[in-house]
Subunit: 228 residues, 2 copies
């Protein structure tokens, strides 16, 4: 759901043992490239494949009839997405930047489930559960947090997943962040500027896609941890 930018290729450490096992059987997987902005699968489309990001980044989202959009997750190198229990996808998936994926026929995977392939079944359950856990935390963020807290939580999560790089380079635009956090580009921009004024971070590079965190503990103070 977050970005791997410090390295373009996925790092083995980011793939759990179980996922590794699932992905290791390369006979199942096929390589596919998607250009920036192109659709990987649509909402209510048949869920015929399972995807793993190798390079680049993916956003999954739902859209309301009047154009409003809610991004459910960002998928980064190593992440597996598109695993559904039903016949169709409930989200639309697009490449945020030029992206390389591995895709696997879903039927071949589910055929193994039907045959009683317990490890395969467990893998699917783990993947779905991980997705659920992320969605649950996202609910709290959308329902309880104000705009500064949302941005802080977003940055900290990103920072954690990238293992605190010196500079994290966001592959997504401000409007993607806004639609992920349930706010607007202007609010995202103002929050980042505000944090920069407080010397908590620096915005660097083209379009300020790069972010340097100077004071992670101050940033953490801005977001309320989940346990009561």
């Amino acid at each position: 759901m977050f970005i791997q930018v410090s390295a373009n290729e996925i790092a083995a450490k980011h793939v759990s043992g179980q996922l590794n096992e699932l992905a290791r059987q390369r006979a199942l997987w096929r390589k596919v490239k998607y250009r920036e902005g192109s659709e990987i699968f649509g909402e209510a489309e048949p869920a015929d494949y399972v995807y793993q990001v190798r390079q680049g980044a993916v956003r999954t989202y739902k859209r309301l009839c009047d154009g409003r959009r809610q991004i459910g997750a960002f998928h980064l190198p190593g992440d597996i997405f598109g695993v559904e229990d039903g016949e169709v996808h409930r989200f639309r998936a697009e490449a945020i930047v030029d992206t390389n994926l591995w895709i696997a026929k879903r039927r071949s995977l589910f055929a193994r489930l039907a045959k009683g392939d317990i490890p395969a079944a467990n893998h699917v359950r783990v993947l779905v559960t991980r997705t659920l856990e992320h969605a649950e935390n996202h609910l709290v963020l959308l329902g309880c947090q104000n705009s500064l807290e949302k941005i802080a939580a977003f940055l900290l999560e990103l920072d954690r997943r990238l293992e605190q790089p010196d500079v994290m380079v966001l592959p997504m635009r401000r409007c993607d962040i806004a639609d992920y956090l349930g706010t607007t580009v202007e609010t995202v921009s103002r929050a980042l500027s505000s944090l920069q004024k407080e010397r908590i971070l620096s915005l660097v590079g083209t379009n300020h896609r790069g972010i340097m965190l100077h004071d992670r503990s101050k940033l953490a103070d801005r977001v309320c941890p989940s346990p009561s």
Copy 2:
């Protein structure tokens, strides 16, 4: 996630075949009663049991350190909840009113998974997937909808699940609705009053817990459907 109020006992039609199969094996299940407001399980507590609502209603939620609360779901008669893939619960569960549950030892269920009980594994996957699907729709509601749309969506979902009763009686308080929708009691109250002024619904009964929908299509106009 919504309330069964027209009948106190669960109706068979509300339990899918698969869930029925899981629940039918009563040898596994034990009956437990919870008083209004009492805790069924806590956040980060060991997930030793699986629960099915027989009578009453349950809320599951997370709380931030300063007291803010996000209700993830309401569980009604027939609903199974507390199924986790990990060792601990990620939500806290409380009885909204006096509630009767059936509980099953989780280990006995997961023992069957480990032994290669494919139907049992599928049941768990279906349950988790159903929870995920609800959470995904909830994300859109929290991230994209304004207060009137949230209330309208809430009411319509409730109405659908109750199969359009003449009067639906909410087991939850306004503050529960507010924390479910990411808003406040006052906003919930104002939205309901506003819809009543427009003759779309009537509030009846003690504490206005009863709601009669007069014009479901007008109410549906208030909420934007998900497909683009």
